[in-house]
Subunit: 149 residues, 2 copies
Amino acid sequence: MEPDLVLDKVFELADRVGDLMHSTLKERGLTPARAGALLALHKAGRALRQRELGDVLRCTPRHVTALVDVLEAQGWAGRSAHPTDRRATLVALTDRGAEAAAQMAAERQDAARTMFGDLTEEERDGFLAVARRALHGMATLSEDRATSS
Amino acid sequence: MEPDLVLDKVFELADRVGDLMHSTLKERGLTPARAGALLALHKAGRALRQRELGDVLRCTPRHVTALVDVLEAQGWAGRSAHPTDRRATLVALTDRGAEAAAQMAAERQDAARTMFGDLTEEERDGFLAVARRALHGMATLSEDRATSS
DNA sequence: GTACATGGTGTGTCTTGCTCACGGTGTACT
DNA sequence: AGTACACCGTGAGCAAGACACACCATGTAC
């Protein structure tokens, strides 16, 4: 069994989950990026500056503006002025947005339980250990590339 | 340890590998989709109809046209008439494309070895077993959604 | 030989994501 | 004070990935 095929499985797993999520989102009228923004706000549990949102989502401030534009137009979230910093804009979920985000988070957890809920503790630990070592190997690879450039 | 967090790790792993691949591709002047097409042709080992390429890449025929347009313009691949079916167009790698594809495949294998190469057979089997069960659970979920719609 | 299926493409749209430049605002240091 | 600088969001413009619909040329089956 080549390491190659293990990597294939990881991608297959991520792809399938991604596909499923994508299709459930479409029913809600949400795209992956917009849903990500809602979930980020949900997880934060408070209003975020657009800048903060961009940091969490790992995208540029410019893109956050566009994202929030749509979320606001469709009633998922709203902008408000920052109380003390007049440069900043706060983004908060509307009731509708909060409900959708909570539901999506719950669905994600259900899916995770369906996939990994019936594992023994041993199996889970073994799986995570392998994943962690792989991530560490990856990090090493990335650093090598960074220093050699 | 919640199943939730296991899913997070899978995504993290896939994301990191994806990021690394993306950056190596950019140095070559390739985008993910175009590189995918080259690798698909490489793996097939023969010229493919555009339709076949679309099936492998899981995208629409229209998108294949656009993809091949660019690959052809940039000298990675070339079109030729199908010898017997005059509707069909065959896509084949140029020498340059074949070389790049082979190199990318080798790099991918190297990365996989860095991540999973030092596992014992037991660890690898355990990991794969978990992944397979998760995939199976996913499939069940997807079917449920399909029948209930 | 007619009806239908298949293969590729023109046109148009949407989403994600980037850069660059800019105006308004905070902050720190003279 | 005032000046320099950093930070926040946004206007404008662009590239990539991907979809649907309509269309024409070609194969195929009846």
